[in-house]
Structures are given as C-alpha cells and as structure tokens.
C-alpha cells in the first residue's frame, strides 16, 4: 500500500508527498520505491514536514478548534500537505541482492513510496555499510546523531528476541569505528537508544 509519491528525486535522496488518507512515515524509518526496471530503492526518512500546498498561501493562526475548522473552514485542512525527505542508502537489484550503496539511477518522479515492514532491518544488516554513507555524507539540514538514534532503535525493535542485543552491539561497533572512537558522541547516541 503506497503511502505517498516521489516529487523530487536524485540518486542521493528523494522527496515525497504523503497521500491524504495515509499516515506519514516516522523520522528515521525505512521506505522503499519499486522501480519499473525491477530494482527497489531503500531510503531512510531524514525529514518530515507539514506546510501549505500553495507556495503563495501561508497557514495563519485562526483561533478555532479542530472541530470548528472541519465544520466551517475545511479547506484550510485540505490545503495542508505532509512531505518527507528520504536519504537513499541501499537498493535491491533484479536478482534480489541488497547493495548498501547508492543506486545507479534515482527513483522516478511520481513513483509510489511504501513503508518498509520492521523486519527490513534484518535484510539491511551486516556489515552496516549504509551507516558509513549516513555518517560520512549526512544531509546538512538534519542532525545526523538523532537520525542514528532512530536507526539503532529500529535495528533493536526489528529483530526477534535473542538476536536483537547482538545486532545492536554489531551496529554499535561499526558506528564506533566510524566515529573514530569519539566515545562521548557514541555514548550520547547509545544513551538515547534505550
């Protein structure tokens, strides 16, 4: 079930608009775009935003309750949309193999975006090369450590009981190396995971 549609796209990231009847993806969750060529592009939601549909119209304080707005000024809700940005970190080729690197082509504009099930973290696991892309080429507009917190938390919740500790430790080790043993930063990230 698609949750939205790609409206801007590059090999590094894409932006999508969420359909009105769908729940927006959570910050730090995985989304996927199935391409016509059979590849699937995986992106990590790095930014979720709500705003006006029309650039010339800005939302203003109206001093009315949500119920009153729905009864008397429903268009102000209609003209609000939710968009999100996802950093492209992996793709699956036509043979079903996952590559934790950028895809050869960007996701198509108007392509459907779906939310990945929580188990996706089991496929996007070791050797956690996507963490390298995330740490070394972060989206400048996003606090990368908060995104890492969300990623680690998903690795934890996306695994079954005996493996989850192990998966989290492995990802933590990769992260530790990437942060060049900046223990304070690593600690601050891990503290917020659990």
């Amino acid at each position: 079930m698609p949750i939205g549609e790609v409206i801007e796209s590059s090999t590094r990231q894409f932006a999508a608009e969420v359909y009105r009847d769908q729940v927006p993806p959570a910050f730090g969750s995985w989304v996927q775009v199935v391409q016509p060529d059979g590849r699937t592009i995986y992106g990590l939601v790095s930014h979720v935003e709500m705003g006006s549909v029309e650039p010339g119209r800005r939302p203003m304080a109206l001093g009315r309750s949500p119920d009153e707005l729905r009864r008397e000024m429903p268009q102000v809700l209609e003209l609000i949309r939710t968009t999100f940005r996802a950093q492209v970190l992996a793709y699956e080729d036509t043979d079903g193999r996952i590559h934790q690197t950028l895809p050869p082509y960007p996701a198509g504009i108007h392509a459907f975006v779906e939310a990945c099930p929580p188990e996706i973290v089991q496929r996007l696991g070791r050797p956690y090369d996507f963490l390298r892309t995330l740490v070394q080429s972060p989206d400048a507009a996003v606090p990368v450590d908060d995104l890492l917190v969300a990623v680690l938390r998903q690795i934890y919740t996306g695994h079954g009981d005996p493996e989850r500790e192990q998966a989290l430790i492995e990802a933590g080790r990769v992260l530790s190396r990437l942060l060049r043993d900046d223990h304070e930063r690593l600690q601050a990230i891990l503290r917020r995971v659990v």
Partner: protein
C-alpha cells in the same frame, strides 16, 4: 520603469485635492441622509420618477417603506454553499492562431458538517475556427475582451449550476454564490445586436434553470460603486426639475449612504435595479439588490451589495438565507466571503501558468510540424536583452 522624480511633482497636489473632495462628499452625504428621512410615500416617489424620466439609473424600492432595515437572522447550522469565480487568458493579438482560455474555479462546502469540501478549477480552451469566427468583432476583426468576458460569465453560471446540482443534499438548505454583478450590462458594449441578444438569452435561460430547480442564486459585490438609490433621492430632491437645488448628489455612491444607515449585520430593503439591460431579462429574472453591512477587519462594517433574481426575493426566507450565509462567510473571511475567496483562488491563473500555457500550445504545434506565429514585438517583450 517609473520616473519617481517626475511623478513626485504630480503627487503633491493629490492629498490636498482629496481633502477638498472629501469635504464636498460629506456635505452631499448629509443632504442625502436628510432626503432619505423625508421620503414618506414610496408610490408617490415612483410616480415622480415616472414623470421626471431622469437620464440616470434609478432603483425601484420593492417595499412600502424606503427606510426599511432588517436584522439578518443567524445562519442555519448546516447549509450547502457553492460558489464560482472565473478568469481567462485573453486572445493575444501577437500570437497566431487566435485562441483564448476560460477558467472557472468552483467550490462546494457542506458547512456545519464534517463532509469533504470540493475545490476545483475547470479550463475551457476555445480555438475552433467555427466558434471563434462567430465571435469576431466586425470592426476590429479580432475577438474583443468584452466577448471573452461575456463567455466567461456564462461559463461561471453554467459551472455553478452543475456543481449546485451535485452538491445538493436532501433536507439541507442550499445557496449558490458568484462574485460581481448579475446584471450583464457589459454585454451592451459588444456593439453586435444579434450576439448581444444571444448572450442575454442564454444567461437568462441559465437563471431559469436555477429557478426551476429551486436553487437560490446570488452575487456579492464588495465596495459597490453604483448610485441607483442615491439617484432615487436625487429625484426626490427635485434634481430633475427646472430649478434643481444648488447642491447635487451626483458622485455620491449608495454604499456611503448605507454605511451611515445600517449597522453591522443589518440589510436594507429590496430594490429592483434600474439598469437598462434589465428590460431584456424576462420578468422573474430581473435583478433585485439589497445592501448588507458586513463585519470587516478591525470591527469596521463594510457595505456590500447583494444581487439576486426577482424570484429569489419572492420566495419566503431566501433573501434572509442568502444574507445570513454571506454574513457568516464575511466573518470567517475577514470582511470578504470565504467561499468566494476560495473560488477565486481556484480560478486565478498565475503568471508562470500563463507562460506554461503558451509553452504547451507552442509544443503541440511544433510536434505537428507547425510553427507558432509570434510577433517580433511579443518576443522582445518576453525576453528583453541587455
């Protein structure tokens, strides 16, 4: 480019002149208010109008008392309101082949419910030789702006009717609204008698559809410029007699008069418009108006003119319903009906869209191996070089 140094010299006298004009207007307003209070017998005044045959347009009061003021009741909790507004891309003399675009924005609100709102715009691209040929102005050999405007007005009313039918809910009152006047006086500027008659005929036929389907239709005029009621007072003051009073009320608009007579939430009595084109409208569709004091920003009331066909005025409760809806809409829209503002938003064609429209025409023609004719002047205007 504007030369502000040169403009500055002309601006100096502006404020002083305006001050002078305002004082004169105040004097006229006072005289109008005096005359207003003195009118007793409306019948006698109408006879006087008949005798004097003034050259100005004179409103015809429909009530027994001229001074009637009505407090508008509160709006029904649930009501369906549909509204339409239009815009266009006029035919461009510098672009071949001749074509133009009409765009109607229309909205349907089920107010007081949680039912979804409908917001949409409908373009109509007119380019066929047959349809364009019939509209060519004989003198100019081009399609005049008036014709495009008349077609747009017709398209608005048509689109409004269609939406009103679709949005109607059983047991729920329905109001259909337009912006501007329902009096199509612009049509008389076409200078093509036959075409004018066709336009009026089709317009009145659409109003007749509204009547048959019992959909009250009305239009809203913000800051109306008319003076038909003031003109009635001019007759009462003897301005048509051989010895008119030294001060004429000429130049005083009805809205100024009513801004002193009505409090926010009140409307005037009903007046049949004296516009000449009205004679071409079949009797039940002659346009009637009322002036309504609507709440504006900063607690100031503004006078709006509400127009509707005579059959709306004759149905018990419809004028009240229309005015109640408009009052509440103005409250939400900061002095202008929210539904009409939304219809306008849907209708408006912005500059980049206009550019894209010409771009698309060009591409379509280019694909079929035909060049789009554009005068060199137009090219230079679009892409000025340094």
């Amino acid at each position: 480019m504007l030369d502000f140094v040169r403009l500055q010299q002309q601006l100096r006298g502006f404020a002083a002149y305006q001050q002078q004009q305002r004082d004169l207007l105040q004097e006229k307003l006072q005289a109008a208010l005096d005359a207003w209070q003195q009118v007793g017998d409306v019948e006698a005044l109408l006879e006087e109008v008949e005798r004097a045959r003034p050259s100005w347009l004179v409103a015809r009061p429909l009530g027994e008392r001229l001074q009637e003021r009505v407090r508008v009741p509160s709006r029904p909790a649930q009501v369906t309101v549909v509204a339409a507004d239009g815009s266009q891309i006029f035919p461009d003399r510098h672009v071949e082949p001749p074509c133009f675009l009409l765009n109607v924005g229309r909205v349907a609100f089920q107010l007081g419910t949680h039912e979804p709102v409908r917001l949409e715009s409908i373009p109509r691209f007119c380019f066929r030789q047959e349809e364009v040929q019939a509209l060519l102005d004989d003198r100019l050999e081009s399609i005049s702006l008036e014709i495009v405007s008349a077609l747009r007005d017709e398209f608005e009313l048509e689109a409004l009717l269609e939406l009103a039918r679709a949005a109607r809910r059983a047991e729920r009152p329905l109001v259909a609204l337009l912006d501007g006047t329902l009096i199509r006086w612009m049509i008389r500027r076409l200078h093509q008698r036959e075409l004018e008659e066709q336009f009026i005929c089709r317009y009145v036929a659409l109003l007749e559809q509204f009547r048959r389907e019992r959909i009250p239709v009305a239009s809203y005029i913000s800051m109306p410029g008319g003076a038909e009621v003031v003109n009635l007072l001019r007759v009462a003051r003897g301005e048509c007699t051989p010895e008119p009073p030294s001060l004429s009320l000429d130049g005083l608009a009805d809205r100024l008069l009513f801004s002193r007579l009505l409090r926010s939430g009140e409307r005037s009595g009903l007046f049949l418009s004296g516009s000449h084109i009205q004679r071409a409208y079949a009797e039940p569709h002659r346009i009637v108006c009322t002036y309504l004091a609507v709440p504006g920003p900063y607690g100031q009331a503004e006078i709006a003119r509400i127009e509707f066909p005579h059959w709306v005025a004759e149905e018990d409760g419809w004028v009240d319903l229309v005015c109640a809806v408009l009052l509440k809409e103005c409250e939400k829209g900061n002095g202008y009906p929210m539904v009409l503002a939304e219809a306008h938003e849907q209708a408006v064609i912005r500059a980049p869209e206009r550019e894209a429209f010409y771009e698309l025409i060009g591409r379509q023609l280019w694909r079929s191996g035909m060049p789009v004719g554009q005068s060199r002047k137009q090219v230079s205007k679009r892409r000025p070089v340094l």
